[in-house]
Symmetry: C2
Subunit: 175 residues, 2 copies
């Protein structure tokens, strides 16, 4: 029963509360769960594909004064986003190396739920694992949930790992 390793795609994102590229609580939780409950000691049986989707700012001027915006500012913002994304992925790739699980990691820009479903179609993983904040129906109306959309539309089996209640920040919309 050796054969090809099972390819698990994971969507990962940054924390909204911890500043410089820390993984979100739910991304980290989903990753830890996957290592513990699915991979276990069978490290050669799996390969993890980390996908980080960056949402382009509406106007690109989130945290700088628009008066000083110039083409150079744009390219430096792009560089900065790229570096943040790489630092985020570095966390997961390093953990995989420690444990001895093969992995790949890449960054895309766009609407996370659309991009994730598109990448599933393109790469055909065996399984998609997503973390979720486990929001109630009232909060969901306002923030939407990527995991709910992907569970319905992704063309492969999907596991959604809800965030551990003990780890939820004060505002459950944060992560």
């Amino acid at each position: 029963m050796e054969g090809e390793p099972t390819r698990i795609m994971m969507g990962v994102n940054e924390s909204t509360i911890k500043g410089y590229p820390h993984p979100s609580i739910s991304s980290r939780g989903a990753f830890d769960w996957t290592l513990k409950k699915i991979v276990g000691s069978n490290t050669s049986g799996f390969k993890i594909l980390f996908l980080h989707v960056q949402v382009p700012d509406e106007d690109g001027f989130d945290d700088m004064d628009s008066i000083f915006a110039s083409p150079e500012d744009f390219s430096s913002m792009n560089r900065r986003d790229k570096i943040r994304g790489l630092h985020l992925l570095e966390y997961f790739v390093n953990r995989c190396h420690e444990v001895g699980v093969a992995c790949e990691a890449w960054i895309k820009k766009g609407d996370p739920k659309e991009v994730i479903c598109h990448e599933v179609k393109r790469l055909q993983p065996d399984l998609l694992v997503l973390g979720s904040r486990g929001l109630g129906p009232f909060q969901r109306v306002f923030v939407g949930t990527v995991s709910e959309f992907c569970a319905k539309h992704a063309e492969c089996p999907v596991i959604t790992i809800k965030r551990n209640a003990a780890e939820s920040p004060q505002d459950p919309v944060d992560d």
Copy 2:
């Protein structure tokens, strides 16, 4: 990284088309997928808990002439149901023994979606795996789907494995 095996609960049911207790196409598909993609060669890392929920007949007279119903008929029907359920579970238990994965199996009566969520609460598996017919929205209105309910309400991560399109019977509501 040895420790406790990962406990996977699977809801399994009978085929609606093949007569005497064959597993449904979607139950068999979900089981095969789990063995191939999750368990792999790591047979000691997992334990599978098979739950078969039998829906009680509304009136208990589905396939006999009600004029002849007597208390003995009822108890023989119950026996017959029990035997069918045991035969169904035998299929899965035998496959697990062949592969060398530990398992348990049991039968409950009631509404499958409610019973499955209740058993998840009681036994706290690490993961619930369910097969699904992958019906479209129109068909779903009429037949309901156990997997959709459980994905939303079960208190553990859930994977839904859609039936292979090539294996779908002529009427997709059959299984």
